[in-house]
């Protein structure tokens, strides 16, 4: 069983860029595996534990196009977007372990992290709520006459929330500079698409708001990248929002506790043949003359960084209970 060939064979995808893709996709994959399959099972990570296994191409193919002044609102399946913004495996692990040096200082857990300096809004757990928030970020950019844009990430499930519809509509009528990346992974928790909506594609919902939208293979990082480039250009040049629906599949349960018995095996098998990392590697071998040894080296580097970060995170202090009431108000 071999990975299908990537859709876009362009010389532009040179080795450097592809290596960057590979590094971040592998880092996300391996870091999440470490967290979910080891640290969580060992009780070093507690609480909810969500991964984006199989969906790595979406944050990677898009967030690499973000400029320092742009803002991102990643979802719980977009760890690589944080990595690309410079958030380190150390910070991510400390967050997952509830340590004082994590990005929320232990006040929130798992992927519920962000960072103001690096312009990543911490996940708003109320699904769909980030869509109107992205509108506000974009509004401020426009207000100040910046050419910055917002990258908003959400899932298919979010498109059933009123907030999603209200937020999209507002962005459309205000021509706000937002690139929406929707990961349509066919399930919202246990609920399959046909129980979520009576259309097959999320873009059919978007159409009602007059926002240009396209569908891409969300497991093909080059396709995500190309579509994102179009979208970014559109948004940056003042033409308003742009919507990309990335067809993909969640190669895990909803979270670590969920065996996902409701997913038919055939579906899982079908999508396991489309692993985004293997697809990229195949492209790199066939089109760029890359060597299996290159991949081994990237993986080695990723694993050693993770190793170092885990050791570091395990040494980090838990928050001091005396800090419990800090930061609720600026001052009283």
């Amino acid at each position: 069983m071999s990975a299908p060939v990537l859709a876009h064979l362009r010389t532009e995808f040179d080795r450097g860029l592809c290596h960057r893709f590979l590094y971040y996709m592998l880092m996300m994959r391996e870091l999440e595996e470490r967290i979910e399959l080891k640290l969580y099972r060992q009780g070093k990570v507690v609480g909810g534990c969500y991964t984006g296994r199989g969906q790595e191409a979406i944050p990677v193919g898009s967030a690499v196009l973000s400029q320092p002044g742009d803002w991102l609102t990643p979802s719980h399946r977009d760890m690589a977007a944080l990595l690309i913004r410079g958030i380190t495996p150390r910070e991510i692990l400390a967050q997952y372990m509830g340590r004082a040096t994590g990005l929320t200082k232990g006040r929130d857990g798992n992927m519920h992290m962000g960072c103001a300096e690096r312009h990543c809004v911490p996940i708003i757990s109320s699904i769909g709520a980030s869509i109107p928030v992205a509108g506000g970020l974009a509004l401020a950019m426009r207000y100040r006459g910046e050419s910055n844009i917002v990258f908003n990430y959400s899932g298919d499930g979010a498109s059933s929330r009123g907030d999603w519809h209200e937020g999209l509509n507002m962005a459309a009528v205000m021509d706000l500079p937002i690139v929406y990346l929707c990961n349509n992974n066919l399930f919202a928790y246990s609920t399959p698409l046909d129980k979520q909506m009576n259309v097959c594609d999320i873009v059919d919902r978007v159409a009602g708001y007059g926002i240009p939208a396209e569908i891409v293979d969300g497991n093909d990082v080059l396709a995500v990248y190309e579509a994102s480039k179009r979208a970014v250009e559109h948004a940056r040049s003042g033409k308003g929002p742009y919507f990309i629906e990335c067809k993909t599949f969640r190669m895990s349960g909803h979270s670590a506790h969920d065996p996902a018995d409701y997913v038919p095996n055939s579906l899982r098998e079908e999508w396991s043949r489309k692993d985004p990392i293997l697809m990229l590697q195949k492209y790199m071998v066939e089109e760029l003359g890359a060597d299996e040894r290159d991949f081994v080296n990237v993986r080695k580097q990723v694993l050693s960084e993770i190793e170092e970060a885990v050791d570091w995170a395990l040494e980090q202090p838990f928050p001091d209970p005396s800090t419990l009431e800090d930061d609720v108000y600026e001052s009283i």
Binding site: V46, G47, G48, G98, R99, A100, T104, K105, G106, R107, D108, G109, N110, H112, S125, S126, I127, G128, A129, G157, A158, S160, R161, G162, D163, A188, Y189, S190, T191, K195, Q196, M197, Y262, F318, P319, D320, P321, T323, L324, E325, V328
Partner: protein
């Protein structure tokens, strides 16, 4: 006879009401095929079919709105919010529409909104909150939170039979941590009736939810020092059982108001107001509130532990009040 958990008690209660009354149905995210995030509705799809066990899109506002419409049109919806925290997404529908129907046009809304809340499960700021107060503050809504498996079953059944909208708050930590033998025959527990969970003479702890168990633990320890504590479990938070609150205060003359919810605007303040207005002459000491501090619910173990009220704190403050 085997013991029934809190989670199973609620499941049985809904199940029995669905057997008893065909107008009762359940609806929410992941409730049918998956059986609900906490498995409250497990097996119901197989037994009652997809007309009565309905998976919805991820749309809290639509769930509540559709539930209210169904209630107007003769059904008795039992809605599930996956987490109490996200009930806020349906807040407008609940407080501005469902709660006001009877007042505005004498329309009954026999609807239950079940919402798992509470902390001590490493849920962090979005999956641990005690969200009762905005709903307690909304006239037209009833708000219930059982502390035991017996009450969980009896109260969910009473809530389903009630003709007003009921916010039924379940405590996630209690789901599988408390259990007891339940009667085999049909029973309900009346709404708006508090229950004395432990009789005592010296001091009353007025509380609800998980904190009932923490209060009982503290009471047991204090009994060893010769301090006799009465624990009143409110069970229904709105409308409150004022009579039981006043009776216990008149009996012991001292009261601690305990809740897992944060301090400011918490139910303790309201209960204190009732006591101050109607039992002031009986009091032999100040009313004390023991609550979580005014912060979001933190995730990390050390912080969450510091956030949640605990038996040590109760013991300390009760000793002080006893000697007052």
């Amino acid at each position: 006879m085997s013991k029934t958990t809190y989670v199973e008690a609620i499941r049985q209660g809904i199940w029995e009401e669905m057997e008893r009354d065909e107008s009762v149905f359940v609806m929410g995210e992941d409730v049918a095929v998956y059986g609900g995030a906490f498995k409250i509705t497990k097996g119901m799809l197989e037994r009652f079919g997809e007309m009565r066990v309905i998976d919805t899109p991820l749309s809290e506002s639509a769930i509540v709105g559709a539930g209210t419409g169904a209630a107007i049109n003769g059904l008795r919806p039992v809605l599930e919010m996956q987490f109490a925290d996200f009930m806020a997404c349906g807040f407008d529908q609940i407080t501005n529409f469902a709660a006001k129907c009877r007042y505005r046009w004498q329309q009954a809304i026999p609807m239950v909104i079940r919402a798992p809340g509470g902390g001590n499960i490493h849920g962090g700021p979005f999956h641990s909150q005690n969200v009762e107060m905005p709903y307690v503050h909304t006239p037209g809504l009833k708000v219930v939170q059982p502390a035991t498996a017996y009450d969980a079953k009896g109260l969910i059944k009473a809530a389903i039979r009630d003709n007003d909208p009921v916010i039924f708050l379940e405590h996630k930590y209690l789901y599988r941590s408390v259990k007891e033998e339940l009667p085999t025959e049909d029973y309900t527990v009346p709404l708006s009736k508090a229950k004395t969970q432990r009789e005592g003479e010296d001091l009353s702890i007025i509380t609800y939810g998980w904190m009932v168990h923490v209060a009982l633990e503290a009471a047991e320890r204090l009994a060893g020092e010769g301090i006799s504590i009465e624990v009143l479990d409110l069970r229904t938070l709105a409308p409150l059982d004022r009579r039981s609150i006043l009776e216990t205060c008149k009996k012991t003359s001292k009261a601690i108001l305990l809740h897992e919810d944060t301090l400011t605007g918490g139910l303790g303040g309201e209960v204190a107001g009732i006591i101050a207005e109607h039992a002031f002459d009986y009091l032999d000491g100040p009313l004390l509130r023991i609550t979580a501090p005014d912060t979001p619910v933190p995730f990390s173990e050390t912080l969450e532990k510091a956030f949640l009220p605990n038996a040590d704190e109760i013991v300390k403050k009760a000793r002080w009040l006893y000697r007052f």
